[in-house]
Point group: D2
């Protein structure tokens, strides 16, 4: 049995931090050895510091770890970060500079030209940006890799399947996002019970820009962004986990409905520990995908797509869904780390 | 004080039927004198027959009315109908033929060429179709007038404001619809708690066709439908009342954001009992409109619009909201009846 | 038309403060002339300072009032207070000392021996404590009057009806409390969606002690508490407004079910502006009372009772319900002010 | 590897039937070989007949089984039944008479004197009633064993722990029950959103009688019921899974709080496949147990208890919780079958 990588989690007590702990509980390659959180938590054991909010309870292996301040050094080989963007920029760079691979779920660096914005199945070649990054920022051993905004992840995979085969020209997406995306305490119950909120601070610009980078082409150590427009309207709805996207798309090349379905179904998965068997599942039932029934598909790592039809104005329309704190956050980061490990980058 | 019109309600025990009773409780022009419902209810008093589901309780004036079978004659001057579409077609025609003005919320006749599909503020001139209708169907005193699908009402008013001023070329709408739209028992709680359902049977085709008729031009006793395309995706969300629409629109003429806001705000209201002071309210707060906070604007008869911005792909985007069982159903029908009364049509 | 009392609201931007504004919008006796809130809000107009969360929107008459710091003097004849208990004690006493009648919804003074804990219909004679209070605290014109905890109000009225007629010996109450009781932001949506929380900080002791004072006897300027025991378990449930209480009660004297129903129904209401016609409504339908259907009974000022049966262990059991931010908070305070005004105390 | 028992499920398409399929998917002792449901479903494959409502999707091994009518013979060694009580009595007896062990979750036979009402950890000796039953009803190979009402299961285990050690004299229980307990379509969303319903048809009498039988003593082939009174008020709350019970209890012998906690914690679990490691978990956090966080404890087979305190009127009070469709229904039945298998009864 191989030696496991020792992992630190930055922002361990938050919603995504807890999901990291849960996903890494019995992971064959990673073992949590350090937990870092805000000053208020530092010095306490994790079980004292963290108000655990996930069903199933806190994993035994992290309960007694003493929470540390969020600064290097930490006793680990790499760090997963789910820091709020207000502190992520400075802190993550400090960890990278101190030699740690930083696998980040934060938004701070996502759109920086030298930072990979990875969905492991879609643009693994963007890892090459790490070299550019090291040169530019003077990192030696460390680096920063990010995963996309959780709402982007809910539709980027089917979009990638279409872009790869037929070219995407424009995308209109309306998202129905889960409350867990706002962390804890997050959305007040008085705001979302018997209600919908048509606004998530800062979300629409992220959704309108990240996909073009993810689907961009790596040339000479830089990403040339994909040339399509995105229009995004983002809503908070009363769902615990699972972001739903209502999507219309225009393609550059003609494609039949069968072609489109096939492009999605045949999009290859990876052979990594957290990879789902089927990356994109296309459901035929007229009322699917639904967050409560489908968010856990592929252990929360599959994207489910349904209601795929020709559209009156665009070429096609569909509904896609992903688990926002698994595939849309902690799970994507873990998969990115597995990808990097498979390429001996950590 | 003028004599009141005597009103019958077809489908009185249902969700919309109850809303009719509530809206007509103290109405200055209408007085409920007959309630008709399915055979199971007929013969009982309304208080025995109806499981009242609206806050505030059953109005006193209807409690002791004995429910009758849904067939003419009824002791009234006109009927409001909220029959399920399976029975509406035959029954409503029978009432019209028997001489009753039928103000219907059902979908059965909406798209028939000789039936007005009315939003009182938008296309009151379509009432002229009643003449066509009488000739074609051999009605003498009676007639049928309908109001649109509740989801259509959530965005048709701002669309009408834009169409009148700048011409609409295409519309993409994604609806987030309330559970009350499905009636009672309607949506099982196991289906909508912690969930979103991306499917409402028969809804998307209605949303994609009704607006063009409403905004159509009356020429020689017939409607020429407005020439724009609609793409609709319809979702059920966990909201009790209030349909939200996420809208993108392309216009035929150039319009500044200020023009667009002004077109909506200045769309005239009517001077009828149920008319709101402001037909279309444009809200500036970034997180509005919200169903729980805004559905009751103008006593549930105003449309609230927010998040009105230029769009990356279309000319503009916005979010609009209406109360689906008031403005989107019973309230619209009552307003239509008030309009007809003001024109001495009943 | 009589001159209106000029009213200040302490804690105006909170959930209960907003309810005060709503209830006083068209009040015949009171007119809001001052709004006070935390330093963060002071100096702004109310419309700028307050994130309004009640359906129907902010009343026009308060929008442009400039929010002031929470300290005397304020430009008004009396103050309503919904301050958090952390600051209420000191601040309310300061207002009373400065000559203002303080009608408080806060918990700070409720159990002080010289402070009336009023439900206007139940113990109006306790107003006499104001004299005791003035002597003890050296108030001249000012005084403090409180209303009970919102959970207590959900069952104290039927309890009072029974106590007055038959004597209460012991009460077991389990409360199912609405999220609005925790204010805003209050209960995180992640805590209450698909969930019940069996704990509300500090609540059970309040529920176990306040009723005995309310039902106590005034003798020689002091309250002799009623001699019964209360056992309370308090739950937060996923309801916006409306606290439900599951109650068992042992009586000192024998009473038939008919006696018990009659005692509740015949408990007299008052003849004040905010008094409901029927203080305690006894519902016969097996599935009532329900928060969504019954909280607005009597404009939110009635208590609804149902499922009243003999019990296997206690004499009787029943379910009672009140609107927690109306009858359980702002509405009770307004009614107390009306009572005091009717007795020329303000 | 031992040969597995071949299992049939009566009422397979319902909420509990689906849970049976899920729990038996990879069971080491049982294998589903027959699915029976109403005439509407019979003849279709399970995947066609059943609207699957549990997260995670329908197990592969049942998808292609052709649903049969609910009558013997079925191709299996024993049957699990979750039939509605209207048909359970006749049907289950027919299966038992035809030689099948019937492990039933239905209420029909629970209180019959010769039918074991089993919680495997509590009264396994009641299995001896099967002999009485065979004699009385003329069964040869077959028999009927039942598990309790789901609400009873939420508090009977801690009650059993106390009864065994100290004797229980009386119990007051108020239940907060999940919507899944009503099956599908079950509770309309309009009834439970922003609401609590204080009534579940037929529930309170079950809760007030079943515990005494479960905790009764087997003497001469008959159960002498435990001699305590139960008072039950049952509420439906907006929770998907997990029944919460608010309990007060009087004991016959004196017990310290420590004694009480110890009695619960030390109540032995069994060594069967579905047994949780800890039958009764006593939680110390003040806000636990909560359905969303604790219903899955012990894979949904543990009972969690919290807020255990001395009470003002009774000796002790506490809150207990169980997963109503696992421990409260299908899981209990499976555990009963494992118990019977371990005793070579099937």
């Amino acid at each position: 049995m191989a030696k496991k990588f020792r992992v630190g989690i930055l922002g361990a007590t938050g919603t995504v931090g807890q999901r990291f702990c849960q996903l890494l509980e019995n992971h064959p390659q990673f073992e949590i050895t350090a937990l870092a959180a805000s000053d208020r938590s530092a010095g306490k054991t994790f079980v004292e510091a963290c108000a655990w909010k996930l069903p199933g309870g806190m994993p035994e292996n992290v309960k007694d770890i003493v929470v540390q301040p969020i600064e290097p050094p930490l006793d680990c080989d790499l760090v997963f970060s789910s820091l709020p963007s207000s502190v992520a920029r400075e802190t993550e760079e400090a960890f990278a500079r101190a030699g740690y691979p930083v696998i980040s779920n934060s938004s701070s660096f996502r759109m920086d030209a030298d930072i990979p914005l990875l969905i492991a199945e879609i643009n693994p070649d963007h890892i090459a940006l790490i070299e550019t990054q090291r040169v530019k920022r003077g990192f030696t051993k460390g680096f920063i890799v990010t995963n996309p905004n959780c709402a982007v992840v809910s539709f980027a995979p089917p979009l990638a399947a279409l872009h790869r085969k037929f070219g995407v020209e424009s995308v209109v997406v309306t998202t129905l996002q889960a409350i867990s995306g706002a962390g804890y305490p997050g959305v007040p119950s008085l705001d979302i019970t018997d209600n919908v909120v048509p606004y998530i601070a800062g979300e629409e610009p992220k959704v309108e820009t990240e996909a073009q980078k993810i689907l961009g082409k790596l040339t000479d150590g830089a990403i040339e962004k994909a040339d399509f427009s995105v229009s995004a309207q983002c809503f908070r709805v009363h769902v615990i986990d699972g972001h739903t996207a209502s999507v219309r798309v225009d393609l550059r090349e003609t494609a039949t409905l069968e072609d489109v379905i096939d492009a999605m179904k045949s999009f290859p998965s990876l052979d990594l520990h957290s990879s789902p068997k089927q990356f994109i599942q296309v459901l035929e039932e007229p009322s699917r995908p639904q967050p409560r029934l489908d968010r856990d598909a592929g252990n929360g790592m599959s994207i489910t797509v349904g209601r795929l039809f020709p559209d009156n104005i665009f070429d096609y329309r569909f509904v896609s869904l992903s688990h926002n704190t698994v595939r849309g956050a902690a799970g994507s980061a873990v998969l990115n780390a597995e990808l990097l490990a498979s390429k001996n980058m950590i």
